[in-house]
């Protein structure tokens, strides 16, 4: 997890296998980049009031990061622009040396998601989707975009999903984990209905500002608690999705959990099975055990990689989750980037390796190896 400061040259890493990277963060270098896609009214809104989230600070995150923008210090292109803002540099630093054949774009803050003003949120998400399509995916066929939706408004989100359906630039819908209410609740169902209808998986990426404390007992003091706390948020929202029955209601729905680790998933499923059985009188809409719903409907990205002292414990976790549900991700250009050559400290069989590093994603996103 140390910050990498050494620039690797293109082609330097010859031992790699081709990978699918399920979490790449392209970054808007300057707000002007969005002007072609954003109505004048919203350009002015942004210039005048900025992006207003459900927290105090207009110019940065609620918890200051460990380094600027949580980026690797070497991810800044020679031009001095923000990490992740320059396609050419991303190719040279990441896509080529790591042989990324499929990269899923997950733009983060400010992406329009979580803006307090719902109309602005919707307009900004739409602009960001155009920006991903024209500035990234259509210029670089290895990169695929996520449909950003203003998720607090279910109807507007569903409309945006249907607008992008069938466009080969887009391979999934993206939500953030810190929503205003748990993501299984019915205000979000139009999102799942539209995604299932359009055959797009729904990815939930850690982060965002829902306005409620990131613990059930109030606001913690430190970024280290926020970062590690995303796993708890993801446990709670996945609980909500299962217990509310969205997988019963939308049987074609596929959910991808991104950037909150993964080793918490098996114990969560065990806990859900046990107590759901005891309390099932409350949820007659559920026909199957929670663990079965999760096994059938949930994929999970591996970054940040779990690092038990004894690496064989990592194998236990992979087995308990299911090898066909693991998706490798680097989180480029963020500081806690997982290097595909070093992140996994256990020996994988060729099948395990191929599935985890490529085939699972290829199948999920319908993108066979080129």
């Amino acid at each position: 997890m140390n910050v990498q400061t050494q620039v690797r040259r293109a082609g330097a890493a010859s031992t790699k296998i081709a990978i699918a990277d399920c979490d790449i963060h392209p970054c808007v270098g300057s707000p002007r980049e969005l002007d072609p896609y954003l109505a004048k009214r919203w350009q002015q809104e942004f210039a005048t009031f900025g992006s207003r989230f459900r927290h105090a600070f207009s110019g940065g995150p609620q918890y200051p990061k460990g380094q600027p923008d949580a980026h690797r210090r070497d991810a800044r292109p020679p031009s001095g622009a923000k990490g992740g803002s320059d396609l050419g540099f991303m190719r040279e630093q990441h896509l080529i040396p790591n042989d990324v054949r499929l990269g899923i774009l997950n733009p983060l803050s400010p992406s329009g998601q979580g803006f307090q003003n719902p109309e602005f949120s919707a307009a900004y998400c739409t602009a960001m989707n155009d920006w991903q399509k024209y500035n990234w995916a259509e210029k670089e066929p290895r990169l695929k975009a996520s449909v950003l939706v203003p998720y607090e408004d279910g109807a507007a989100s569903a409309a945006e999903i249907r607008r992008r359906a069938g466009d080969p630039a887009f391979v999934q819908v993206l939500l953030l984990s810190r929503s205003a209410e748990p993501l299984g609740q019915r205000r979000y169902w139009p999102i799942y209905e539209a995604a299932a209808e359009c055959g797009l998986p729904v990815a939930v990426h850690a982060f965002g500002y829902g306005g409620t404390p990131i613990t059930g007992g109030g606001w913690p003091s430190y970024y280290i608690e926020e970062v590690s706390g995303h796993a708890q948020c993801c446990q709670a929202l996945l609980t909500s999705m299962v217990i509310e029955g969205i997988f019963e209601r939308f049987p074609g729905l596929k959910v991808v959990m991104v950037e909150a680790g993964f080793a918490w998933l098996p114990p969560l499923a065990w806990r859900m099975d046990k107590h759901w059985m005891r309390l099932r009188q409350e949820t007659p809409h559920l026909k199957r055990k929670p663990s079965e719903c999760i096994r059938d409907h949930v994929w999970i990205a591996t970054q940040p990689m779990e690092e038990p002292d004894r690496p064989e414990f990592l194998r236990d976790t992979f087995e308990w989750i299911g090898w066909d549900r693991l998706l490798f991700a680097t989180d480029y250009p963020h500081w806690d980037f997982d290097d595909p050559a070093q992140a996994i400290r256990i020996k994988l069989s060729p099948e395990e390796r191929l599935g985890l590093f490529y085939n699972n994603a290829a199948e999920l996103y319908g993108q066979p190896l080129q």
Binding site: P182, L183, T215, G217, G218, Y223, C233, L237, I243, W276
Partner: protein, 355 residues
């Protein structure tokens, strides 16, 4: 008598306040009158709805009275039947949820005095945790000092979800006082409900509320470690109760890893979080959120990387197992003995060390 349990210490049982009337004799006039004149009917919280299956095992429910509300029921159903040396009473009553902190302090005092008189005085195997108004640490300290004089109080009781994360220095007077008396701080599942019970807002179902407790324990344990509570109070022991424990290994991998990457933010945390937990933190056994097979559960036990962490509990009268199947199958006799006897006695110094 259930042989494997003879001589054990049951570290989490829940005597129930039968009704608010039971507390009135233990309240000063002002609060007695307040309860009567303002029509305060009960402080039972939504954490354990009385009729919910999890709140009372069917064969431990008795027609005509609240579950676990009489010492005779506890004697017959648990103490005599299981042959425990001790059982630690953790009353769950909505004291910690009151927004009026003086009222919270008055109820805490009443519950503690009621517990001494109606429970501890009536069975010498019973021990208790000190109920405190955790929403007002100054008043909590007074209550700890008052009750600690009675050696049958072996622990300070807090709920996992309160006003703010439990590591915040707001709570430090409580930890200083507990450490000074040699009392562990027991943190039990439950909430003041002053914030949404999940980190992503209010859930729809009770099932989610109960499931969310283990996430709350993860966050609060991170808070205790990151704020430096165990650096400041190195002799303090914290016991997580009704927390589940199968989440602990993956939680520690995660926290160790982010600590390595971000320790510059919390320079007072001098050791790996996992080392701090193995030294200062214990967890009660039930509920066991177990994987499908005994072999897998044994693997989780290996992943804990310590045989000192777990303390036996039935969580009586909560319903997590049937009959006397409180201990998981397939444990080595050595580990079983640690969980049942040695670990509890090592944690609660007031029980008198080794059996």
């Amino acid at each position: 008598m259930a042989e494997p349990y003879r001589g054990c210490v049951d570290c989490d049982i829940h005597p129930s306040v039968p009704s608010i009337k039971a507390l009135l004799p233990y309240m000063p006039d002002f609060w007695h009158d307040t309860v009567v004149q303002r029509g305060i009917k009960a402080l039972d919280t939504i954490s354990y709805p009385q009729n919910a299956p999890i709140s009372g095992r069917p064969d431990w429910r008795v027609e005509g009275r609240k579950t676990a509300s009489s010492v005779e029921d506890v004697q017959q159903q648990l103490l005599d039947a299981w042959g425990a040396d001790y059982a630690i009473c953790n009353p769950l009553y909505g004291v910690q949820a009151l927004l009026n902190v003086d009222m919270g302090a008055a109820f805490a005092q009443a519950v503690n005095d009621w517990l001494v008189k109606e429970w501890l005085d009536r069975d010498e195997r019973l021990r208790a945790s000190i109920v405190i108004p955790m929403q007002a640490p100054d008043l909590a300290v007074e209550e700890i000092n008052r009750c600690a004089k009675d050696p049958r109080f072996v622990q300070v009781l807090m709920l996992v979800n309160g006003e703010m994360p439990l590591g915040r220095r707001f709570y430090w007077p409580i930890y200083a006082t507990a450490e000074r008396h040699g009392l562990p701080v027991g943190i039990h599942a439950g909430s003041s409900y002053h914030h949404p019970v999940t980190p992503v807002g209010w859930p729809s179902y009770y099932t989610e509320d109960y499931l969310a407790q283990s996430q709350a324990f993860q966050s609060q344990l991170a808070s205790l470690i990151c704020e430096g509570v165990f650096t400041k109070y190195p002799a303090l022991h914290v016991v997580l109760m009704e927390s589940g424990f199968t989440w602990l290994p993956s939680f520690l991998w995660r926290l160790d890893k982010v600590w390595r990457g971000l320790r510059m933010e919390v320079p007072w945390v001098h050791a790996l979080p996992s080392e701090i937990v193995r030294k200062n933190v214990r967890l009660t056994l039930q509920p066991i959120d177990a994987p499908p097979t005994a072999e897998q559960l044994n693997r989780v036990m290996d992943q804990l990387e310590s045989d000192r962490l777990l303390l036996f509990s039935t969580d009586y009268p909560h319903w997590h197992f049937d009959g006397t199947a409180a201990m998981p199958e397939g444990l080595s006799p050595e580990l079983a003995r640690r969980i049942l006897v040695d670990n509890p006695r090592a944690t609660y110094s007031r029980l008198g060390g080794q059996a």
